[in-house]
């Protein structure tokens, strides 16, 4: 594996990408769904890590009454939910209607356009690195719910297929995009096996994910306002991703954590942290924007951010 870490030089802490009012509405609708699908803690004991298979897992936190466990071996975090419930959540009409509305799409596009530009560059750059060309691939895009982003990807593909989730995916492609989707998979190994079957030999998987080993996730635990059931069921760690991809036959080419919102998330929720978390309280009270930005850069560079992305290759004959 190419051992690389990636970071960006920012002038200050990045802004959240979500529109506040839409985000709080999504959050409410998710909580409403969760109230109807309670998971009792007693029924969720002895959960195995869905990434590395270890049975050494501990209760990490509970969010909206749903328990989340942490794997002692690979540090992945997961909720012991049934896949059918997560699938039902994804198809929950109030949420799907909101997300497909024109207003939601428009605001998302405005806030995310720059990020999508950067992501498209990343796809092209890494494709050039591993394929020797930066355009004209068959691309299977799984779970991308943003119309504008889909059009941007389509523009450099030779054949573009977008599906709403992994269950719907049945087209083979040279490149599979699986961006912020693993969080909906209760059995990531099975998900990676299916993705493997959809990639042509020597083809590439581009994956991005919120990761459980990231700074804000491990620091905030239940005080987080960005992780919630069943939007987030599986938060693999960097190590968990590595183990599960290799287990399913992928060659992991590179993994980085270029996320830039960890410090913002923690600082915005600092009052919710226990009083004895003195270092972060001190940091919050005594650090200016430049120090916090430098701290975020260190987190990015050290693969400690809670947003990771990777490129993996399906081993096999030439495309």
């Amino acid at each position: 594996m190419l051992k690389a870490y990636s970071f960006t030089e920012n002038e200050g802490l990045s802004q959240r990408l979500n529109d506040k009012s839409f985000f709080s509405l999504e959050r409410q609708l998710a909580a409403e769904f969760v109230r109807q699908h309670h998971i009792s803690l007693s029924a969720a004991k002895n959960e195995k890590c869905p990434l590395c298979g270890s049975d050494e897992t501990d209760l990490f936190t509970a969010i909206d009454t749903i328990p989340f466990f942490r794997c002692d071996r690979c540090w992945s975090i997961f909720a012991p939910a049934e896949q059918s419930i997560v699938d039902e959540y994804r198809a929950y009409t109030p949420i799907t209607a909101l997300r497909s509305s024109d207003e939601y799409q428009e605001i998302a596009s405005v806030k995310r356009l720059k990020m999508w530009d950067e992501l498209v560059f990343w796809f092209k750059f890494r494709s050039a690195r591993y394929f020797g060309k930066s355009a004209n691939f068959s691309i299977l895009d799984i779970g991308n719910r943003y119309n504008v982003f889909r059009e941007m990807i389509k523009s450099f593909s030779s054949e573009y297929t977008a599906v709403s989730d992994l269950v719907q995916a049945n087209t083979e492609a040279e490149i599979v995009l699986f961006l912020t989707q693993i969080q909906y998979e209760t059995n990531p190994i099975q998900a990676f096996e299916k993705i493997y079957s959809l990639i042509k030999p020597n083809g590439l998987l581009f994956l991005s994910a919120r990761v459980g080993s990231g700074f804000d996730v491990l620091t905030l635990k239940g005080a987080t306002d960005t992780i919630y059931p069943f939007e987030h069921t599986t938060l693999p760690s960097i190590k968990g991703l590595q183990i599960s991809l290799e287990k399913t036959g992928f060659e992991l080419l590179e993994i980085t954590s270029p996320g830039n919102l960890d410090i913002r998330y923690v600082m915005e929720n600092i009052e919710k942290l226990p009083d004895d978390n003195l270092f972060l309280k001190y940091l919050s009270k005594n650090s200016d924007e430049s120090i916090l930005t430098e701290f975020q850069r260190f987190i990015q560079k050290s693969n400690l951010s809670s947003h990771a992305r990777l490129v993996a290759r399906k081993k096999g004959d030439t495309v």
Binding site: E11, K124, F125, R129, K301
Partner: protein, 328 residues
Amino acid sequence: MTNKIRTAILGMGVMGKRRRDAISRHGGFELVGTCDVVPGYDFTDWKECIDKTNPDAVFVCTINSVIPDIVCYAIEQGIHVFSEKPPGRNLADTLRMEDAYNTGNSILKFGFNHRYHNSIIEAKTLINSKLLGGVVCVRGIYGKAGNVDFTKEWRNNPELSGGGILLDQGIHMLDLMCWFLGDLTVEHGNVDRLVWRNMPTEDSAFAVLKTQDGKIASLHSSAIQWKHKFDMDIIFTDGYIALNGLLTGTRSYGEERITYYHKDLEIKDGKLGNPLEHTLCFDSDNSWDYETAEFFDAVRNGKPLVNGTIADAKRVMTLVESIYEQSR
């Protein structure tokens, strides 16, 4: 029967040992002999080593003055050759090896190892893909710290080395510039002894080079940087790359990284003069393994050599010679 490439290593200094480790990691080579003028190896005479071990391939890791004799002799025997840079002490040496190569049937590869560094591979990817537009110019600085016995090193004895810092280290930068920009000619070259005044070879080299279609490269190769330094800036029509540091055996050239950004005339990133930069850092040096694998594939699998060809060697030695010539 083994299908491994029976290999002898001639010259067991730092580079010989590094190549020995690399071929061992590769697994496709069988080491049949080692040779050095310093006792402790299988042979002290390179010719005897070749004649007695009859290898399929040799790695030539000797001082510069011996390289052409060994390369030419090995090729005459039908042996494949991997030789360290520089390809001889001067262009005449390189041309002599070219003649041998043209009359023989051997693979001949030179160790322009920097092409295999991760940051360089990423830069080449961005150049070839044109994702940042076309390259316009390159400026490179390659500096060495020197040491107490620097002036006494064989590298600074022109009889043995052929030149100073330009031939020892600047040659890598020139090779990269050619690889990134295409064929270059020297517009202006200057070598000098700016500090080590009694040394017979230069401690500093400066050059401005140009391609036929007007791309510019500037080089500063220095033995008086007083620290180890590798920096290259590549300017594109739509962006920029900075290469800083290089992972080496001593790790003294710093963290190896590539930073790139797009030009942002419309200030989409929010601040004029400060576009969003992306940096990739590397904490492993795979260059020796990649280079060994290319040589193996050429010898064993008939794959054409892409890097370190005799044409690359001739091209870069022509530039070196021209820079020296302009300083006389």
